[in-house]
């Protein structure tokens, strides 16, 4: 009789341990997915957007295209650039926007036809802020920065 009771208890225990194992695995994987989701979110974080506009009857209209603003955003006709500029006036490596010491800088990369910032041509690195418009050929790029 006692053997039967012990066996019954052992049977219950075995089942309980199996469920415990599944539960433990579930908890571990649940946490893992949450932490990796947070990580993915953090790495996907951008600093703002760059809105592409083109000339239309003397004023500028949005093309509907926009790019994320990255710590290093390069402009040019070459496909290796972050933002590929489809304009015959653009050089293959035209300009770059970089984050340096907490500020955003615009640099012209010795392009043939030059870069403008709010209509003024850029000869040396300048600090840019939210709402500035970068001009390359016939295209205009407006910076929209997120408050960090």
């Amino acid at each position: 009789m006692t053997t039967e009771i012990t066996l019954f208890v052992l049977r219950l225990l075995a089942g309980a341990i199996l469920l415990l194992m599944l539960l433990a695995l579930f908890v571990v994987m649940w946490r893992d997915y949450h932490s990796s989701a947070r990580e993915a979110e953090a790495s996907r974080r951008t600093y703002g957007r760059i809105i592409v506009m083109h000339e239309l009857d003397g004023s500028y209209a949005r093309t509907g295209e926009s790019h994320p603003l990255l710590p290093t955003t390069s402009f040019g006709r070459a496909p290796t650039n972050t933002i590929r500029v489809e304009d015959t006036f653009a050089s293959s490596e035209h300009a770059v926007v970089v984050m340096r010491n907490g500020q955003w800088w615009l640099e012209d990369r010795a392009s043939r036809n030059g870069t403008t910032l709010n209509g003024v041509s850029v000869n040396q690195p300048v600090v840019v802020t939210d709402g500035d418009v970068i001009g390359i050929g016939h295209l205009r790029y407006r910076l929209e920065m997120e408050a960090s």
């Binding site: 052992l10 049977r11 075995a14 089942g15 599944l22």
Partner: protein, 437 residues
């Protein structure tokens, strides 16, 4: 990969950190001890030898854990405990179903854990797999050919498939080793072709040209050779497994969906051809469609397996208290039915859940290898081997798909299968740790 700790570690009284792997290994040890006690009680007599295999299991778990902790501290914390849980369970099940085989299985466990540690800890093991792929392939195919010529079956029955190579009383199944060799070869080859397969701007017709015989010729040739040999050997489960793994890897490497569709059609076509050509396929399909007419004859095994599932019910009969021994060769291919009878639905769910977690973690390890096609393909291929093999045999035992004689990873009796699966886990551990490349 994060080595998340349980909240238990907030209690500072323990002299060692409580990591996920330790908790899970502890749960596994508890389970092995409980079911071993149950087994001894149902036998009604106690011999000190009964405690040998649980003791060896504990030793393997401890050694493996400590060595891995030292050399690969950032590995995936789930794979090793799950492998040990399932193999400990398998050890007790083999002891319960076929006591004469228990000692041999225990010995194989030691060899397997050693193999796993070797795969996980040998420096440059992944680079070897990658660079010496043709050498490995020649060794693998050589083993297979020698099985055809010299193969034996340990049971010594007439007409049984002769898939083993024997040295003395030790037998080894070369098709098991071929699984790893095949995946490593395909991963290495497709990883090299990756830029061509994934070239930007290729779509539609152009892409079809990229996946041309010129690129895939050697792969198809190699695959055709193994499948022909396997059908010759009548090891159908392994042939299906190889083909599915090949398709999955080709799909992952190329990202071209019609491959899967075409592959599915090819499998159905091959099935129809095999049905009309081979008696053994015809038998398997017939007893899958309707086993009940021949429940006492050709379909005896599958009918007994279904009865075992029914007898198990939700909570099982308890270890040693069911009657799974009515199923012929229950300790190898039909171990899942024995689990169902003695641990019930809870046990069945646990096996499925544990295997699923291994496969999921393997796939995740593959995803995390950004920019390293060989590593991605290796991780995906190895976890596909475990997943597809488990699905084939679990489905077969449940009469969901025609029965193919493959082993259930970690649980079934069989040394070469245990060794292969542990080496797969070792390679996955290696891939999961950022320090091992």
């Amino acid at each position: 990969m994060t080595t998340g700790a349980f909240p238990l570690s907030h209690r500072r009284r323990l002299p060692f950190p409580v990591t996920t792997e330790r908790v899970l290994l502890g749960v596994g040890a508890l389970f092995v001890i409980v079911i071993t006690l149950g087994l001894i009680l149902t036998r009604g007599r106690f011999e000190p030898g009964d405690l040998l295999s649980p003791a060896v299991w504990l030793g393997c778990a401890l050694t493996g854990h400590l060595l891995l902790e030292r050399r690969l501290p950032n590995r995936d914390p789930l794979l090793f405990p799950i492998a040990m849980f399932l193999s400990g369970w398998g050890l007790v099940v083999v002891d319960r179903l076929a006591p004469p085989f228990a000692d041999r299985q225990t010995l194989w466990l030691v060899v397997s854990v050693g193999g796993m540690l070797a795969a996980a800890l040998t420096p440059h093991s992944l680079r070897w797999l990658r660079s010496y792929r043709y050498t490995l392939l020649v060794i693998g195919l050589g083993l297979l050919v020698s099985t055809i010529l010299l193969g034996r079956n340990p049971s010594g029955q007439e007409g049984a498939p002769e898939l083993w190579l024997g040295i003395g009383s030790l037998y080894f199944q070369p098709s098991e080793a071929l699984k790893i060799i095949l995946v490593a070869f395909l991963a290495s080859y497709l990883g090299e072709q990756y830029p061509a397969l994934r070239a930007e701007g290729l779509d539609g017709l152009q892409r079809r040209w990229a996946i041309s015989p010129r690129i895939l010729g050697p792969v198809l040739l190699m695959w055709g050779l193994s499948v022909v040999i396997l059908i010759w050997q009548r090891d159908l489960g392994t042939a299906i497994l190889f083909f599915v793994v090949f398709l999955v890897l080709l799909y992952i490497a190329s990202g071209y969906t019609p491959i899967l569709l075409g592959g599915a059609i090819l499998i159905v076509l091959a099935g129809i051809v095999a049905y009309s050509l081979f008696d053994v396929v015809q038998l398997r399909v017939d007893i899958w469609l309707n086993p009940w007419n021949e429940g006492e004859g050709r379909a005896y095994q599958i009918v007994q397996s279904l009865l075992a599932f029914a007898a198990g019910g939700p909570f099982g009969q308890g270890i040693g208290q069911g009657a799974p021994e009515f199923i012929p060769v229950v300790h190898s291919d039909f171990v899942f039915a024995a689990v169902a009878e003695e641990w019930g639905l809870v046990g069945v769910f646990s096996v499925i859940g544990l295997v699923a977690v291994v496969v999921m973690r393997g796939m995740r390890i593959g995803i995390s290898q950004r920019g390293r096609p060989f590593h991605t393909l290796l991780a995906v291929g190895l976890s596909t081997v475990i997943g597809v093999q488990s699905l084939l045999i679990m489905g077969g035992v449940l009469k969901l798909v025609p029965l193919t004689g493959v082993t259930l990873p970690f649980l079934s009796y069989g040394g070469s299968s245990l060794l292969t699966n542990f080496i797969i886990v070792g390679l996955l551990l290696r891939l999961s740790a950022p320090e091992g490349t």
